[in-house]
C-alpha cells in the first residue's frame, strides 16, 4: 500500500521546540523535497494495520500505542533532532494545476483533501439539503451550519446566503405568476418596424412594484454583474408582448394571445360519450369501455390542457390507448374497413376477406408465437420501438373465436376512431398483403 517514495508523516508539530515556519500560500519552498503520492495512497484512510486484529490507523503512532494492548512490542519513533527537509506534495492527476511542482501543496492532509475534493467521489451527503462532499470534515462543517440561517423564497427554495436569495427572488416563477395575476392582461407585441429604442419607465416601475421588495433589482445588478448594459435589461426583453411594460401596439393579424384559445374551439370532452349514446349503440361492453376510456382520460388530462385537446394530448392519448388495450372486439372489425379502398368495394372485400381470414389466422398464429405476444407492451407511440402485440392478439381472438359476431354488421365510424395504437398497423399490413 505504501508508495516507496512516501515518508511517514511528521509527528505532531507541538513536539517541536520552535513553531514551523509557513510559506506564503501558493509559493512552496524551493528547497523542499517534492513527493508524488499515488491516488491510492492519498485516498487510503487507515494505512497502518494491526497484524493481530486488523484494525486500521491513520498514524503509525496510534498503531504503536494500540499494539501495547496486544502485549506486542511497540516503539514510538522519536522526532529526529536534525533539521528535516521540508516536504511538498503534488497531485497525481496530470491535468490538475497542482500536478506541477511549482504549485505543490505543503501539507499532506492538504493534498489528501484536495485530491478527494477535486478528483474524488462525493460520498458524504448532507441530510438536510442535497449537498454532497468528498471530504468528511467538509461535510461535518457544512452540517453544522446547514439549516441554521435560512432565507426562504415563496417558491420553497432555501438559501443560506443573502445574496443568492435576493438574486433568486428576482428570477423566481412564483413571484412572476403573482405579479402576472395582479397586472392586467394585454398580450401584445411591439411593432418591429419601429426602430426607436423603447425604454419604457414601465420597466423600472416593474422593478420596484412587481418584483416584490427587491429594490436592488434595478440598481443592484449592474454592479454585481460586470459588463451589463447600465439602465437595466436590454431592449429585446422589452420587445416581448408584455403586459408588464404597458405598451400596446398590435402586430397586424394577430389577436390577443390569451383571448383566442378558449373560445375558438368548441370541443369538450363531456360531449363525446353523450354523442355516442345518441347513435343508438347497443353493444354494452363497447359503450362501457368507451365511456371509461374517456372518463379516464379526462382525469389524466386535467394537467395537460383545457377542454380542446391539443395535438400533444392527442398523441399521449393515442399512446395510452395502444398500451392499455382491454377490449379486443374493437380491433376485429375496424380492420376490415381500414383495408377497403372505397365503399363500393366494401362488400366484395368482406366476401374475400372472410375467405382469407382462415388463411391469415394461421399466419397470425405463427406471428404471435414468434413475437411472444405480451399484451402490456407499450405502443409505438410510447416506446418508439416495434409495435405492441396486443392488437395482433386481439385480432386473432376475433378471427378465430368470432367473439361478438360483428363481421356482417356495418362498421360504425366511432369504432374506427377508438384505436390509434401502432399494433393495429402491424396487423393491417399482415392482413392486406395476404390479400394480394
Amino acid at each position: 500500500i505504501q508508495d516507496p517514495s512516501n515518508a511517514n508523516p511528521n509527528p505532531k508539530p507541538n513536539a517541536n521546540p520552535a513553531k514551523k515556519k509557513r510559506n506564503l500560500p501558493g509559493t512552496p519552498d524551493p528547497d523542499a523535497e517534492v513527493i508524488a503520492l499515488s491516488p491510492k495512497t492519498l485516498m487510503a484512510t487507515n494505512r497502518f494495520i494491526c497484524e493481530i486484529c486488523k484494525k486500521g490507523f491513520q498514524r503509525d503512532q496510534n498503531l504503536q500505542l494500540h499494539r501495547r494492548g496486544h502485549n506486542l512490542p511497540w516503539k514510538l519513533r522519536q522526532r529526529t533532532n536534525k533539521e528535516v527537509r521540508k516536504k511538498v506534495y503534488i497531485c497525481p492527476e496530470k491535468t490538475c494545476v497542482h500536478h506541477d511542482p511549482s504549485r505543490a501543496l505543503g501539507d499532506l492532509t492538504g493534498i489528501k483533501k484536495h485530491f478527494s475534493r477535486k478528483h474524488g467521489e462525493k460520498k458524504w451527503k448532507c441530510e438536510k439539503c442535497s449537498k454532497k462532499y468528498a471530504v468528511q470534515s467538509d461535510w461535518k462543517a457544512h452540517s453544522k451550519t446547514c439549516g441554521t440561517r435560512e432565507y426562504k423564497c415563496d417558491c420553497g427554495t432555501l438559501f443560506s446566503r443573502k445574496d443568492s436569495f435576493i438574486t433568486h427572488r428576482a428570477f423566481c416563477d412564483a413571484l412572476a405568476e403573482e405579479s402576472a395575476r395582479l397586472t392586467s392582461v394585454a398580450a401584445t407585441s411591439l411593432n418591429f418596424r419601429n426602430d426607436t429604442v423603447n425604454l419604457p419607465h414601465g420597466f423600472a416601475g416593474r422593478g420596484v412594484q412587481d418584483v416584490a421588495g427587491i429594490p436592488q433589482f434595478g440598481s443592484g445588478f449592474p454592479q454585481d454583474f460586470s459588463g451589463m448594459p447600465a439602465p437595466g435589461l436590454p431592449e429585446m426583453v422589452q420587445m416581448a408582448p408584455a403586459n408588464l411594460f404597458g405598451s400596446s401596439s398590435h402586430f397586424p393579424g394577430f389577436e390577443n394571445g390569451g383571448a383566442t384559445s378558449s373560445n375558438s374551439n368548441n370541443l369538450s370532452l363531456s360531449q363525446l360519450p353523450q354523442g355516442l349514446k345518441e347513435e343508438g349503440r347497443n353493444e354494452g361492453n363497447l359503450m362501457e369501455s368507451l365511456s371509461s376510456l374517456y372518463s379516464d382520460n379526462q382525469n389524466k388530462q386535467s394537467k395537460a390542457n383545457a377542454s380542446p385537446m391539443s395535438a400533444t394530448a392527442l398523441l399521449q392519448k393515442a399512446a395510452q390507448m395502444g398500451s392499455t388495450r382491454s377490449n379486443p372486439s374493437f380491433f376485429g372489425n375496424s380492420f376490415g374497413v381500414m383495408s377497403s379502398s372505397s365503399s363500393h368495394t366494401a362488400p366484395t372485400f368482406m366476401a374475400s376477406s372472410s375467405a382469407s381470414m382462415s388463411a391469415t389466422s394461421n399466419k397470425l398464429d405463427k406471428l404471435m408465437l414468434q413475437t411472444g405476444g405480451k399484451p402490456s407492451e407499450p405502443s409505438l407511440l410510447n416506446m418508439h420501438h416495434p409495435g405492441s402485440n396486443s392488437f395482433a392478439q386481439s385480432l386473432t381472438r376475433d378471427f378465430l373465436g368470432m367473439s361478438n359476431d360483428q363481421s356482417p354488421r356495418p362498421f360504425l365510424p366511432q369504432e374506427l376512431a377508438k384505436y390509434a395504437a401502432i399494433g393495429s398497423t402491424m396487423g393491417l399490413s399482415q392482413f392486406t398483403s395476404s390479400n394480394h
Binding site: 428570477f171 412572476a176 402576472a180 398580450a187 418591429f192 454583474f225 451589463m228 448594459p229 447600465a230 439602465p231 436590454p234 429585446m236 426583453v237 408582448p241 408584455a242 411594460f245 393579424g253 394577430f254 389577436e255 394571445g257 383566442t260 384559445s261 370541443l267 370532452l269 360531449q271 363525446l272 380542446p308 385537446m309 391539443s310 395535438a311 400533444t312 392527442l314 393515442a318 381500414m338 383495408s339 379502398s341 372505397s342 365503399s343 399466419k363 406471428l367 413475437t371 407511440l381 418508439h384 420501438h385 416495434p386 402485440n389 365510424p413 374506427l416 376512431a417 390509434a420 395504437a421 401502432i422 393495429s424 398497423t425 402491424m426 393491417l428 399490413s429 392486406t432 398483403s433 394480394h436
Partner: protein, 455 residues
C-alpha cells in the same frame, strides 16, 4: 367537421361525421399506418391511408388536422420519389421561395415565438461577459439572416462601462442580398451609437466554408454564433453509406409485391425497422438513434475542429432539441410528430386560426422542415435536428468545454418568456445549458463553449 380540403367525391362519407377528438386520434393512427406502409414498400396500402387522411386533414382546421396535412404531403412526396421522373415533373413549375418570402417567414418566426429572442439574449449575454476587457471583438455568425441579435449586441456593447470595443461582425449566408441587408442595418446601428464597426459578408454554403475566408486576425477576440444551422452539416455523411447499397434496390422502392409478401412473414419488429423506400436499410454503421452512441459524422467534426483552430473565446450554439435524425423513417416520423405537435399547439394557443401569418409559419417554415425530415434522405435531408446531449459529445470531442450560461442572461430570457403571458413557455437549465420548452417538451437548446486547455 371542418375539413375544407377539396374532395373529388368523398369515398368515405362516414369520416365526415367524426368528432374532433376521434378525428384527431384517427389521424394519428392513419399517419402511422401510412408511414409504416411507405417504409415497408406497400404503396397500395399507403395510398388508401393517404386517401382517408386527405378527407380529414386540412391546413385550416384544428391542430391535428393541420399537422396531418403537412405530414401527409411529406409522405406523398416521399412516395413520389419512387418515380424520379414523375417527382421532377410535378415540381417543374414550382417557384423556389422568393428571398422576400423567406425573409418574411424568418421575421415571423422571430416575432411570434420567443425562442429566437431568448436564444439571442442568452447568446449575447455570454458574448458580452466573455469579451469583458477585450478591445477588439470579432463575431462570426454562421447563418447571418436575422440582424436583431447583433443590433442588440451592438447596443449592449456600447453600454459597457469600459466603453465599446472595436467590433467586427462576419456573416455567412448563401444569399448575397440577405447579407447586404444585414450589413446595412448593422452599420447603421453602429454609426448611431458611434461604435467602430465593420461588417464582412461571406457568401456561400456553410458546408463549403474555408475558414481562411473569415480573416481572423491575431489579437482579436473571436466569438462564433450558430443559430439553428449546425445540424445541416450532419447531412453530408450519408453519402458513403449510400454507395454500399446494391443497385437493384435503388429502383425498387416497394414496387415488388413479392418482397412485400415476404415481409409479412417477418416479425413485427423487423417490419418496422426496414425502410426500403429508397432501398436504404439501416446498417450497423449508420448513425444510430440511441442517445449516447458516438455519432459518425466526419463532416461536422472537421468543421468544428476548424472552428476550434480559430481559437475562439466563445462559441454559442442554439439548436432544435429533438431527435429528427433517426436512421429510419418511422423513428423520424414518431419523433417529429411529437415535436411539431408541440409547435403547432403553441401556435394554436397564441395565434388565431384565421391568421395568415400563422398559416405561413406552418406551411413555409414547419411544413418545409417536416417535408425535409420525412421525404428526404442523404445529402438532401438537411433538417437533422439532434438532442443536446449529442451536440455536447461532438463539441467535447472537437476540443471544446462548456461555459455555463450566465445567471443574468437566464434572468433576461426568463423575463422575456414571462412577458409572453402564455403559460406554456418554460425554461430550464441543465449542466450550464438552457432548454427553452413548450409545456414539458424541450424545443430549443442554447449552450456556450470555449476551447479546452486554453487560458
Amino acid at each position: 367537421m371542418m375539413s375544407l380540403s377539396p374532395s373529388l367525391g368523398s369515398s368515405y362519407p362516414w369520416l365526415k361525421e367524426l368528432k374532433s377528438e376521434e378525428r384527431g386520434l384517427y389521424l394519428i393512427h392513419l399517419l402511422l399506418t401510412c408511414a409504416n406502409h411507405v417504409a415497408t414498400g406497400s404503396l397500395e396500402n399507403a395510398n388508401i391511408a393517404l386517401e382517408q387522411i386527405s378527407e380529414l386533414a386540412s391546413p385550416d382546421g384544428d391542430t391535428m388536422q393541420r399537422i396531418a396535412a403537412y405530414f401527409t404531403e411529406a409522405l406523398a412526396d416521399r412516395i413520389l420519389k419512387t418515380w424520379p421522373g414523375l417527382h421532377k415533373a410535378i415540381n417543374s413549375t414550382r417557384v423556389v421561395d422568393l428571398v422576400s418570402e423567406q425573409a418574411l417567414v424568418r421575421r415571423l418566426f422571430f416575432e411570434v415565438f420567443p425562442f429566437l429572442k431568448a436564444a439571442f439574449l442568452l447568446g449575447n449575454q455570454a458574448i458580452i461577459e466573455a469579451m469583458e476587457g477585450e478591445k477588439v471583438v470579432h463575431v462570426i455568425d454562421l447563418d447571418a439572416a436575422e440582424p436583431m441579435q447583433w443590433i442588440a449586441l451592438i447596443r449592449g456593447l456600447s453600454a459597457r462601462p469600459e466603453g465599446p470595443p472595436h467590433l467586427r461582425i462576419t456573416g455567412i449566408h448563401v444569399r448575397k442580398e440577405v447579407l447586404d441587408q444585414m450589413g446595412h442595418r448593422l452599420s447603421e446601428e453602429a454609426e448611431k451609437l458611434d461604435i467602430p464597426f465593420q461588417f464582412n459578408p461571406v457568401v456561400g454554403e456553410l458546408e463549403d466554408l474555408d475558414v481562411e475566408r473569415l480573416h481572423v486576425k491575431t489579437g482579436e477576440a473571436v466569438a462564433i454564433s450558430s443559430v439553428l444551422r449546425l445540424h445541416s452539416l450532419l447531412a453530408s455523411d450519408d453519402e458513403p453509406l449510400r454507395k454500399k447499397l446494391p443497385l437493384a434496390l435503388k429502383n425498387s422502392n416497394g414496387i415488388h409485391l413479392q418482397r412485400a409478401l415476404q415481409m409479412s412473414q417477418n416479425t413485427l419488429g423487423e417490419l418496422l425497422e426496414k425502410d426500403t423506400v429508397n432501398g436504404y436499410s439501416p446498417s450497423p454503421d449508420s448513425a444510430s438513434s440511441s442517445p449516447l452512441s458516438s455519432p459518425v459524422s466526419p463532416k461536422v467534426d472537421t468543421f468544428l475542429t476548424a472552428l476550434r483552430g480559430l481559437l475562439p473565446k466563445l462559441v454559442v450554439i442554439t439548436e432544435q432539441d429533438s431527435n429528427h435524425n433517426g436512421s429510419t423513417l418511422m423513428e423520424r416520423l414518431l419523433e417529429s410528430l411529437h415535436s411539431y405537435a408541440a409547435l403547432f399547439d403553441c401556435l394554436e394557443s397564441t395565434v388565431s386560426r384565421a391568421s395568415s401569418e400563422r398559416l405561413k409559419l406552418e406551411k413555409m417554415l414547419f411544413g418545409n422542415e417536416i417535408k425535409n425530415i420525412i421525404s428526404c434522405e442523404g445529402a438532401e435531408r438537411k433538417e437533422r435536428h439532434e438532442k443536446l446531449e449529442k451536440w455536447i459529445q461532438r463539441l467535447d470531442s472537437a476540443g471544446f468545454c462548456n461555459v455555463p450560461l450566465s445567471y443574468y442572461g437566464m434572468l433576461q430570457a426568463k423575463t422575456l418568456l414571462q412577458g409572453y403571458n402564455c403559460n406554456g413557455y418554460k425554461m430550464k437549465g441543465e449542466n450550464g445549458c438552457v432548454m427553452i420548452c413548450w409545456q414539458d417538451r424541450p424545443m430549443f437548446s442554447v449552450s456556450a463553449w470555449r476551447c479546452r486547455n486554453s487560458l
